[in-house]
């Protein structure tokens, strides 16, 4: 059984596939954006809710059917930044990390019941020079391995902690900045790591696609075979070792090149890219895949949703793709939940 959380502009949905057919559950949280999903160390589910009117919050469930708001979710102190949205939920050992807009990190040591701010990032010395991009000032991707934590902040860059969050340092060497003043701003869009070699990290950035082989100490461009280097998510499938991303024409025209919506994959760690397999629509498809809307199950399953409300899946590491026969509102988040 594969269970996928689909977070949209207008509620959340759950897709389950146990016999080759996708079954749809929902909508959950009618009227609310579902901006991220997570699974706690003890196996409960979390959904991050946002709204055009009301404040963001985490909701919790043991069965994906009955949900209750987390009583002590991420919240900045009274004199701190404003919490506008919860962008990502990441399991880190026995704890959980949440990345938010305005950019910051929160941590839970009790299975997601209570959360505390991570001061080393939230009060980083470079913070006065952080400024939002089009997508806001958001901490949107988190990677971790042992005591190391990587956090991607849009329009700012990548931060790494080597001491389990006690301190963070910037790691953008080799990346083209998208802003120079008042300090270089690096608009990272997506991060993925190789669990077998956590020093190998891939980065979909505003300025292109990059790879690091030294834990983000340095980055090199890897764009051979891509029709365009702009895009948002990048994902790694552990079973095949393949990488996946969805190129968009440019920052000024965030649509598939020539209307050809395709995932691209790399079989060699990013040295070369090609259209991933078969099954794509021959008709033009002018939609976008947002940074939180692609996930893998590390068993050959890759799943992404579009701003046009379509969900695409592969179960064979990108050899063949098919479209889920359900339409959704604008898709903000796609997460494998089980």
């Amino acid at each position: 059984m594969t269970t996928i959380g689909i977070g949209t502009e207008k509620g959340g949905f759950v897709l389950r596939n146990g016999d080759g057919e996708w079954r749809l559950e929902g909508p959950l949280f009618p009227g609310w954006k579902v901006t991220a999903w997570g699974v706690t160390p003890e196996g409960s589910y979390l959904a991050a809710l946002g709204s055009n009117w009301f404040g963001p919050a985490l909701h919790r469930s043991d069965d994906l059917e009955t949900w209750d708001q987390v009583a002590h979710g991420p919240e900045y102190p009274e004199d701190g930044p404003t919490l506008k949205q919860i962008w990502t939920i990441h399991s880190h050992g026995n704890s959980l990390l949440a990345g938010v807009d305005e950019a910051g990190l929160f941590r839970s040591h009790d299975d997601g019941h209570t959360w505390e701010p991570v001061a080393a990032l939230n009060e980083h010395e470079s913070r006065p020079g952080w400024f939002p991009g089009l997508g806001g000032l958001c901490a949107h991707h988190i990677l971790s391995e042992g005591d190391r934590i990587w956090v991607a902040i849009s329009a700012v860059g990548v931060f790494r902690s080597d001491d389990d969050g006690a301190s963070f340092h910037r790691h953008d060497e080799g990346v083209t900045p998208t802003a120079e003043d008042p300090q270089p701003g690096y608009c990272v869009h997506g991060l993925a790591a190789d669990p077998d070699d956590p020093d190998r990290i891939w980065r979909q950035d505003h300025s292109g696609v990059y790879r690091s082989t030294d834990g983000a100490d340095s980055w090199e461009r890897i764009e051979s075979g891509l029709p365009a280097a702009f895009g948002f998510p990048v994902r790694h499938d552990s079973r095949s070792g393949r990488l996946f991303l969805v190129p968009l024409e440019s920052d000024g025209n965030r649509l598939p090149v020539d209307g050809a919506l395709r995932a691209y994959r790399s079989d060699d760690g990013g040295d070369n890219w090609m259209v991933s397999g078969t099954g794509w629509n021959s008709a033009s498809t002018y939609t976008t895949v947002l940074r939180g809307a692609m996930d893998t199950d590390d068993e050959g399953g890759v799943f992404f949703g579009t701003t046009g409300g379509d969900v695409w899946t592969t179960r064979d590491s990108g050899d063949s793709w098919s479209q889920v026969p359900h339409g959704f509102p604008r898709i903000l988040s796609v997460s494998v939940l089980g």
């Binding site: 009117w53 009301f54 919050a57 009583a71 919240e75 900045y76």
Partner: protein, 86 residues
């Protein structure tokens, strides 16, 4: 006692308790009682400084207010969402 009415959008937060009676005769007392009863509402109606969120409308006895005066008399308090969005 005062009556509180909540936007239907808040259903996933408060369940079917969109209309409830709480003790109090001023806006300050009614809101304090409301948040005692439904503490999960606080982050949705107010930011961390206690300021009413900008797209939340508070209507006290048919008058839209920004809750500047907690001593304002209140028999009904409604929290609505702005007519915006698509």
């Amino acid at each position: 006692m005062a009556q509180v009415r909540l936007s239907r959008v808040l259903g996933p937060v408060v369940g079917d308790r969109l209309t409830l009676e709480v003790p109090g005769s001023t806006v300050g007392e009614v809101v304090a009682a409301l948040l005692d009863e439904l503490p999960q509402l606080r982050v949705h109606l107010f930011d961390q400084t206690g300021t009413l969120r900008p797209h939340v409308l508070c209507v006290v006895d048919d008058e839209a207010v920004r809750m500047e005066d907690p001593d304002m008399a209140a028999t009904t308090v409604e929290f609505l969402h702005a007519v915006s969005g698509g």
